[in-house]
Amino acid sequence: MGRPVNHDHYPDAYIRAILGEAKVVAMVGASANAVRPSYFVLKYLLDRGYRVHPVNPGLAGQEILGCRVYGSLAAIPEPVDMVDIFRNAEAAAAVVDEALALPTPPKVVWMQLSVRNDEAAARAETAGLKVVMNRCPKIELGRLSSEISWMGVNSRTISAKRAPQLKSGKFQKLGLRQTFEGSD
């Protein structure tokens, strides 16, 4: 990516690389309430084999889906590849600054659907991080694997390549596949 990232429209290849390379994710604003999106996404990421560290000061020391909850990013005992932010745009800026101050900053900052903070994104990008805003990793994994197509959702992708099977052997889970992206 030689050019600045256009945060209004991410190429599939950009998202696919981020989600394919990340292994350890910190989820800021994770919920223990089973009907909240921030619980759904945590569960889905675990199902797909990511190691997830929930961050929520109100639940610090407790567990969500078997994962210990931390009070801050700094409290997580290992470096994380990606910080997924389930907070509003204003709070997201503080989370980004907290991530940038870590001894080993993450490679990616991800803000959830409806969350966008361009100033914070610019600070992260200046520090060499990749940024995704106003997207959900569950939806993006579903789109790029075509799992979400089982729900009749428009994945906005087409491909003549089949999705790879995941190493877990679970057949109602698909790997990320190559997609056709015509270019201007």
Binding site: A34, S149, W150, M151, S155, I158, K170
Partner: protein, 427 residues
């Protein structure tokens, strides 16, 4: 390098369909199965809780049907879709998601006769009340709105006369009053009109017609435009109240801009049951692959037939917006630059008896109650599809005694015209 959306013809062939992940099958397999095994107990729980993407039971979803759903969603530019057993089932699930007993919706008077019956009679059992408006007087839609109104329903190209509706003007009224606009896009197909681009919020199809296109399978599709803000509106508890069936989940919150399509699936289709056969989905999908080619030919043939009829001595009038003199020609130029569709009506100077005679005399045209087949079709609405309406209702619906409806097929246009010419000679 900015990526570019694939074109319509590419989507018609590819959208939703990649090689099968387990076998590599390139054509979409017909998953003729009722049920799907779970990976494990936790996976089953995730599926039933709407926490994972996957397949459970064909009444809720099926991988063949899912390809059809994504294909139509992509062609319409929607966020998601649901395929069901028929166009009527699709309409029913849409209103089931939007209306509570005692609610009203405003609908154009010019609709498919089956929709008029469904709205006027069947929906009364649910205390869902239609209020009719006139698409030739757009302000009548606004006058029909009351505090109980929950939606507006129109056809993009209206059955039976092929009239083109001013979608953008009616959308402006819907938006002003915070109502979702539902557009039946059956006769246009997304090849001719993409209603979301003109302000529609929900699209419904009878896929039986031009989408499938070969007169071999009944099916319906609901497409979610992702444009209506259910939470902000607060008038649609189906989408914004915690659902006890799913542990208190709020669909609009969880599924965002495709929540409407999900609601019609996980509540409507699951509980009311009008599932589409995967075999029908396969047939309709195969039809859609050639949709652009067929629609181009349908429209070219229809224009030739309309031109022929407009100068025929036994024809009183022709209603085809593709003709320069037609009252709807300006709307056709705005909404259907690629062709004004292939379903239209004309009037016989000989009235009811001439209509009955004409449908008996044709040899290439099939006399039947369908449209959007490769074959040319003909019907005399006053003696068939619209016969249960009163004479006044027939005239309002564009189905008066002298009216004949054509669905022009993709045969050689000279043969289509020759058949009509000979039959008109006998009238």
């Amino acid at each position: 390098m900015a990526d570019r959306a694939p074109g319509f013809a590419t989507l018609a062939v590819h959208a939703g369909a990649q090689p099968d992940p387990t076998t590599g099958a390139r054509a979409t397999p017909i998953y003729q199965t009722t049920s799907f095994v779970f990976d494990d107990v936790d996976h089953a729980a995730s599926l039933f809780g709407l926490q994972a993407f996957g397949n459970i039971y064909t009444r809720i979803g099926n991988p063949t049907n899912a390809v059809l759903e994504e294909r139509v969603a992509a062609l319409e530019g929607g966020t998601a879709a649901l395929a069901v057993a028929s166009g009527h089932a699709a309409e029913f699930l849409i209103f089931h998601a939007l209306l509570q007993p005692g609610d009203e919706f405003v609908a154009s008077k010019k609709l498919y006769g089956g929709s008029i019956n469904q709205f006027n009679h069947s929906y009364k059992s649910f205390n869902w009340n239609v209020v009719w408006a006139d698409q030739d007087d757009v302000s009548s839609f606004e006058r029909a709105i009351t505090p109980k109104t929950k939606a507006i329903f129109i056809e993009s190209i209206a059955n039976p006369a092929g009239e083109i509706t001013d979608i953008a003007a009616i959308s402006a009224i819907a938006k002003k009053h915070g109502l979702p606009l539902i557009v039946d896009n059956t006769l246009a197909t997304p090849y001719l009109i993409r209603p979301f681009e003109h302000g529609a919020d929900i699209i419904v199809h009878s896929a039986t017609k031009f989408l499938g296109g070969h007169g071999n399978s009944i099916g319906g599709v609901i497409v979610d435009g992702g444009s209506f803000d259910w939470i902000k509106s607060g008038r649609y508890p189906f989408l914004t109240s915690p659902r006890p069936e799913y542990g208190g989940i709020v669909l609009a919150e969880t599924f965002g801009n495709f929540a409407f399509a999900i609601a019609t699936r996980v509540l409507g289709l699951r509980d009311l049951g009008p599932a589409l056969s995967p075999f029908n989905a396969f047939q309709i999908l195969t039809g859609i692959e050639t949709l652009p080619l067929r629609m181009e030919r349908h429209c070219a043939n229809a224009l030739k037939v309309a031109e022929f009829l407009s100068t025929h001595a036994k024809v009183a009038w022709v209603s085809y917006p593709g003709l320069p003199g037609d009252k709807g020609h300006a709307l056709a130029q705005k909404y259907t630059p690629k062709g004004a569709g292939a379903v239209f009506t004309f009037g016989l100077k000989g009235g009811f008896d001439a209509g009955v005679k004409l449908v008996s005399e044709v040899q290439l045209f099939s006399h039947l109650a369908n449209v959007g087949d490769t074959r040319s079709l003909i019907i005399h609405p006053a003696s068939t599809t619209h016969r249960q309406l009163s004479d006044a209702q027939k005239t309002v619906a564009g189905a008066g005694p002298e009216v004949v409806r054509l669905s022009v097929g993709i045969e050689d246009p000279a043969d289509i015209i020759a058949d009509l010419d000979k039959a008109l000679g006998a009238v």
